[in-house]
């Protein structure tokens, strides 16, 4: 089936062919003018016959007029630069680093996206437990848990509340949560305090009726916010932010289910996907142009290559992609190889058709008679006519290569998870869409992916319009 790539390149092809014809036929557009005596025209006399029309300058001018395309080009360039700069910025987590809570060693899984890692800010004067964190200068692990009570520990409730109960246990008073998870045992009349109670689950006894922990593990705070006491407790000297990690660097896009930083993964994935796109486009150019030139220029090869093309073109591309990825070991090389196997077909056919058309034009015959070598004729006389369409096809093949990568990953033959790409990030995110709170894991890579592909697409199309001589002044 023909794609939109073909739509645009056919249009451009037709326009270029027309231009070529016009150039070759000379400027005679109106035959009547040949037979009309011209009056002396000073302006015409001043004209030196030199026209400062330059194809590429006009193309550039028309392209620059398209504001959307130019701004997308800038966005894309910045994005591309950023994917390379990002790992070197301060405070970035490596894409494959599994972030653990330094105290419990548990993975920080599915931390929601946030610009800071601050979970909660503690008002000044709050009592906290604080212990210095190993390997992290000036950071303290802080929480307000007095004691963890084992399941079925008995204690006295001295003040009953809907959410928090004030309790006494071994001479200490503190608060426990009173909700469906803790399931405190209630007497017949819960307002008749004090009464003896227990829970069938493990309970935390807090200093204040607030939970300053991250699901039971300590949060982190910089020492400068605390006034430390000798017994291991501390008082917040000013409003103190408690963080997920002993670091101010946030997980801007959150973390995935094994605690990897999604921000780093998205950029690393963009890098991989763009690399796939560019490599495939590069090979499309190399193979497509070589085969196309041979096919068009060498008459003996024409029949064979046409037959080969007919066979290959009949097979759906998707099938080749699936087949190759299935047979070979999944990985970057396999993907690129599978895409390169088919991507050059359209390019080769286009080059061949164009070369057949212009190969025997008079100027090429003249060149040949003058003894110009075949290689030189191809490079100097033939290819320059095709540059704009080649560039259009390349610009459009980058987003389609990226899309193919997503597809192959989707059916389970893509890159391994430790090599993030936009495809496998989306695929990982897709599995979590049923949970509304985890959708960010799909949405962030999807947005970046869409921005990249749409930009390439629009830039490619704008370029095609700009390269069309009809649009030149």
């Amino acid at each position: 089936m023909l794609s939109i790539k073909d739509n645009k390149s056919r249009k451009l092809e037709a326009a270029l062919a027309e231009q070529l014809k016009k150039d070759l036929d000379g400027q005679i557009e109106n035959e009547d003018e040949l037979f009309v005596l011209a009056e002396y025209d000073e302006a015409a006399g001043e004209k030196t016959g030199y026209s400062n029309y330059s194809y590429w300058r006009s193309t550039l001018q028309v392209f620059l007029k398209n504001k959307v395309a130019v701004s997308l080009l800038i966005v894309l360039a910045l994005l591309l630069a950023f994917t390379f700069i990002q790992p070197h910025l301060p405070g970035q987590y490596p894409a494959n680093l599994i972030n653990n809570n330094p105290q419990t060693g548990k993975q920080l899984s599915n931390v929601p996206p946030s610009l800071t890692t601050v979970m909660v800010t503690v008002p000044a004067g709050t009592q906290l437990n604080a212990a210095p964190v190993k390997n992290a200068e000036g950071w303290y692990a802080a929480d307000n848990v007095i004691e963890s009570l084992k399941a079925r520990t008995k204690f006295d409730v001295i003040e009953y509340g809907e959410q928090w109960c004030r309790i006494e246990y071994k001479g200490k008073t503190g608060y426990v949560k009173n909700n469906f998870q803790t399931k405190l045992k209630l007497p017949d009349d819960p307002t008749a305090v004090p009464y003896e109670s227990r829970s069938n689950f493990k309970l935390e006894m807090y200093m204040q009726p607030v939970d300053y922990t991250n699901n039971g593990t300590s949060l982190y705070v910089e020492g400068s916010y605390l006034t430390l006491h000798d017994d291991g407790t501390a008082t917040a000297a000013s409003d103190a932010p408690l963080r997920v990690l002993p670091s101010e660097n946030a997980f801007w896009f959150g973390t995935n289910n094994i605690g990897q930083d999604l921000w780093a993964r998205v950029w690393s994935g963009t890098r991989t996907s763009l690399a796939i796109g560019f490599i495939v486009a590069f090979f499309e150019a190399i193979i497509g142009i070589t085969v196309g030139v041979l096919w068009g220029y060498v008459r003996k090869l024409d029949r064979i290559l046409t037959e080969v093309y007919n066979v290959l073109d009949n097979i759906p591309n998707t099938i080749i992609l699936i087949l190759i990825s299935y047979i070979l070991r999944p990985g970057f090389g396999t993907l690129v190889f599978a895409m390169c196997l088919t991507c050059w077909l359209g390019m080769a056919r286009f080059i061949r058709n164009q070369i057949v058309i212009i190969r025997d034009r008079d100027y090429n015959l003249a060149s040949r008679c003058l003894g110009t070598g075949t290689a030189k004729i191809i490079v100097k006389n033939l290819l320059p006519y095709l540059v704009s369409v080649i560039m259009l096809r390349l610009a459009l093949s980058i987003p389609s290569a990226i899309g193919n990568e997503v597809f192959i990953t989707y059916i389970g033959l893509g890159l391994p998870v430790d090599m993030p790409s936009l495809g496998n990030l989306i695929n990982e995110g897709r599995k979590l869409v049923t949970s509304e709170t985890l959708r960010y894991q799909l949405i962030f890579p999807a947005i970046v992916l869409s921005v990249v592909t749409i930009s390439f697409y629009i830039i490619g199309n704008a370029f095609a319009d700009a390269a069309d001589p009809k649009n030149h002044v």
């Binding site: 089936m1 087949l323 597809f407």
Partner: protein, 313 residues
């Protein structure tokens, strides 16, 4: 015409034969685990016995010949892992009708949406519909299908308040899969129809019709649209067959028990014979679609001559 058809048919058959052979030979290079349902437990003797039984120790040309012989009888082999020992043709015959129903529906929807859109776009260049259609086409072509399909499923189901997964007996769950499958083809038809209509509109006979005083809508419907539709017809069998085959994305997203979802399943389970069969069916469908398109084009448009093809010398 007959001569052309025969030639076209024979070249399609040849292509088909080449593709089947290549797929077959390539899949012989796969690890043999894909032929066993319990490879880890089997000992060497059992493995050898099974390989002999399946004929996998024969030289590849012999295997290919046997496979082709079976194929002519409609036997695609038996599944190794997906549904152990079941004949593949039976498995696929069970799945195909559903894919076909969905495909035909979505194809119809795509034609219903795509042709008016394309016509509206061509009618007033730079008008609202032209801009809308262009944005739509760019979006559908640029954004990978996986992304918008997922989002349609996600927000469509919660917006309409319908179940996320497909249920054959619950008609309301058919809406989103059919709609999503139609999106791509809609953009495709709209894009090409607009292009062909704009080409037609610049022709002299349209100017003549206008000079004669034929009304605008009449010109569009009776002349431009009809002529512009002829080149489109070529692609309809292909797109129909592709859609029938079931969009791989849609079927696995909505858990539709069709052929596209089946492919994803058997790839996940590394069931070599099944992958081989489905890949062959897909390529077959592609070839048949192109063949039908070319033949249909010849039947419909008598101006097309088959003596000298484009670009031939």
């Amino acid at each position: 015409m007959l001569k052309y058809s025969l030639k076209r048919l024979s070249s399609s058959l040849l292509t088909l034969l080449i593709i089947i052979s290549v797929v077959f030979v390539l899949l012989r290079q796969m690890p043999i685990e894909g032929y066993f349902d319990n490879f880890e437990k089997a000992d060497a003797a059992m493995i050898q016995a099974k390989l002999n039984q399946l004929g996998l120790n024969d030289p590849i040309p012999v295997q290919l010949w046997n496979f082709l012989k079976d194929l002519v009888h409609g036997d695609l082999g038996t599944s190794a892992r997906y549904s152990v020992g079941a004949p593949i043709s039976g498995l696929i015959a069970k799945k195909a009708p559903l894919s076909m129903k969905l495909g035909v529906l979505s194809m119809g929807l795509a034609l219903l949406m795509g042709i008016p859109l394309g016509a509206a776009m061509a009618r007033k260049k730079g008008g609202f519909w032209d801009k809308f259609g262009t944005i739509y086409i760019v979006f559908i072509n640029a954004v990978p299908a996986a992304v918008y399909h997922i989002f349609i499923q996600l927000y469509g189901t919660s917006f309409l308040g319908i179940p996320m997964l497909f249920d054959e007996n619950n008609l309301i769950t058919w809406i989103l899969p059919v709609f999503s499958m139609a999106l791509g083809n809609t953009a495709y038809y709209a894009m090409w129809l607009r292009r062909y209509m704009v080409d037609e509109m610049n022709k002299d006979y349209v100017r003549l019709a206008r000079a004669k005083g034929v009304s605008g809508p009449n010109i569009m419907m009776k002349h431009v649209l009809r002529n512009a539709f002829v080149p489109m017809i070529q692609y309809i069998p292909t797109s129909l067959l592709y859609t029938v085959c079931g969009s791989i994305y849609i079927e696995s997203l909505y858990s539709i028990p069709g052929m596209g979802g089946l492919l994803v399943d058997v790839i996940g389970r590394q069931d070599n014979p099944m992958v081989q069969a489905i890949v062959m069916i897909y390529s077959c469908i592609g070839i048949v679609g192109l063949l039908l398109g070319d033949l249909l084009m010849g039947v419909i448009d008598p101006r097309i001559s088959f003596v000298k093809k484009e670009g031939a010398r």
